[in-house]
Point group: C2
Chain length 276, copies 2
C-alpha cells in the first residue's frame, strides 16, 4: 500500500464537519445522508448562542470561526456552513483561511434557483441578517445579471418551527403575510433561504401553488458537497457512516423534533463549550 | 465632612447595574426611572447571545456571572438581574458571591402576586426555562403554602414582541391559546414573568378581563431596589440621572422599539464584548 493510497483511506474515514446556529442545519445533514450515504458526519449546533439570524456580521463571523476551528481540530475533512446566516455573513471572509474545503449554502441555492426560473423572477425568504446581507441577490445576479430578486425577511418562522407549529393556523397566517409581496411580484421560483424552512415545505407549497418552484438550499448544498468529494461521480455506498452531534448547550427539545421529522439516527450526542 | 459621609456620596454617584439577555430588561429600567428618578443606571443587554429563555441553567448562570463581573468592574453599586430567566436560574447561586447587593425579579413579583390574590389562585406566564425552574411557584409557596400556582411557558411571545407585533391578530391568537388553561383554572392574579411581557399588558388585560390582576415584575423589582437604596424612604429627586446602555452585539432594531414604547432617553450606547 503506497502513501497516496493511505491518504485516500484516511480522507474517506474523516468526517464531513457541518455546523449551524442550532438544530436547523440537520436538514442539510439529512440531504447529505441521502446524497452521500457512506460518509461520517460531525455536526455542531451552537445552541448556547442560537439564533444567529438577528445578529451582526462581526458576531456571526466570530462564532463561525470558533466553531470551524473546533471542527478542523476534530479532524473534519471539509466544513459545511449549514446555516444560511453564517453562509451569508461569514463564509466569504473565512472560506480561504482553512486548510480544508469550506462551503456554504448560498451559492448552491442561488445556482439552483437560476436554473429553475423561467420568467426571471426569483423570491428569497430568509432571516433578517441574511436578507440584509443581500447574499442571495448578489450570488444570483453574478450568475445572471437580469434576474429580478425579491427578498423578504421572515424573522418569526424559526421560532414557529422550533415550537413544532409546522401546520398550524398561526404559521399559515404569518406565512401568507410574508409571502404576499413575493406572490404580487410574480415570482416563479422561491429560495427557502434558511435551513429551518424545508420543514415548512408543505405549507409553503400550498400557499405558493404548483406554478412556483421551491428551491431547498439543503438539497443543493448536499449536491455541491458530493461534487467536491467525488468529482468522478463514484460515491461509496457502504462504510462506517455515522452522525455525531455536538451542541454548545443542552437543549434537546427541538433536536428530538428534527430527528423525528427528518428521519435521522444520531449515533452520539455531546455538549461542547465553544469560544475562549 | 467625615469618611462615612464621603462614602455615602460616592455610593450615590455610582450607577445601579442592570442586565438582561437583551432589550426586554429596559421595562425594569423604565420602572426604576419612575421610582428612583435621580439614579444613574448602567444597562447591559446580552444581544450577542439572546435569548436566554430556552437555554440551560448552566449556560444562563455562566452568562450572568460574566456580565455581573463586568458591571462590578464598571463600578455598579448594586446588580439587578432584569431578566426573569437569569433571575430564576442564576440569581440563587450568584447573589451571595458579589460585594454589592444582587437582586432579581422573581421574589418581588411573587410577593406582589401573593398580596394581590383573593382566591388563592395565581397564574404565571414566562419563558420555557423560567417555567421549568418553578422559581415563581417556589417563591410564592414559600410566602403562602396553600396558594395554587398554574404556570404556562409562552416561548413565542418574546419573538412576537421583538417584531413589534404588540396588538396584532397573530399575537392575540397566540395569547388566547397560552392563557386559556389559566382562565380555565380560575386564576384571579397573573404574573407577567418575563421582562418583555409588560409591553403586551394592554392585550393581555383585554383577554383576561378586569377581574384578573396583572402583576408586572418590573414595577415590583423597582420597588424592591428602592427599599434597598433608601430604607428610610427618602429618595433624591434630582441628581445626575443618566442611562448608559451597553449591548454585546450591534442589534439596534428592538432597542429603538423599546426606547419609544417605554419613553426612555438613552444617554450613551456602546458595544461591549463579554466573556473570555
Amino acid at each position: 500500500m503506497n502513501a497516496e493510497h493511505r491518504d485516500d483511506l484516511d480522507m474517506t474515514d474523516r468526517p464531513i464537519g457541518v455546523f449551524d446556529s442550532g438544530i436547523g442545519g440537520l436538514t442539510v445533514v439529512a440531504a447529505l445522508r441521502r446524497t452521500l450515504p457512506a460518509e461520517k458526519i460531525l455536526y455542531l449546533g451552537d445552541t448556547a448562542r442560537v439564533p444567529y439570524g438577528g445578529k451582526s456580521p462581526e458576531t456571526v463571523t466570530r462564532y463561525s470561526k470558533e466553531i470551524s476551528d473546533l471542527l478542523v481540530e476534530e479532524g473534519a475533512k471539509m466544513i459545511v456552513a449549514a446555516c444560511n446566516t453564517a453562509s451569508a455573513l461569514a463564509v466569504p471572509s473565512l472560506a480561504l483561511s482553512y486548510p480544508v474545503p469550506f462551503i456554504g449554502v448560498i451559492e448552491p441555492g442561488a445556482a439552483a434557483a437560476v436554473l429553475a426560473t423561467r420568467n426571471g423572477k426569483i423570491g428569497v425568504i430568509a432571516t433578517r441578517a441574511t436578507i440584509a446581507s443581500d447574499a442571495y441577490g448578489k450570488a444570483i445576479r453574478s450568475l445572471s445579471a437580469n434576474i429580478e430578486v425579491t427578498a423578504i425577511a421572515c424573522p418569526l418562522l424559526v421560532p414557529l418551527i422550533e415550537e413544532g407549529l409546522f401546520d398550524d393556523e398561526i404559521t399559515r397566517t404569518m406565512l401568507r403575510r410574508y409571502l404576499e409581496p413575493l406572490l404580487r411580484a410574480g415570482i416563479d421560483t422561491l429560495v427557502l433561504g434558511c435551513t429551518h424552512y424545508p420543514l415548512l415545505k408543505g405549507v409553503i407549497g400550498r400557499i405558493c401553488g404548483k406554478k412556483i418552484s421551491l428551491v431547498d438550499s439543503a438539497e443543493n448544498c448536499a449536491l455541491a458537497v458530493r461534487a467536491l468529494i467525488s468529482p468522478s461521480g463514484n460515491i461509496a455506498q457502504d462504510g462506517n457512516a455515522r452522525l455525531d452531534v455536538m451542541l454548545t448547550d443542552s437543549s434537546e427539545g427541538f433536536l428530538r423534533i428534527a430527528e423525528k421529522s427528518l428521519n435521522l439516527t444520531i449515533d452520539s450526542l455531546n455538549i461542547r463549550k465553544v469560544g475562549k
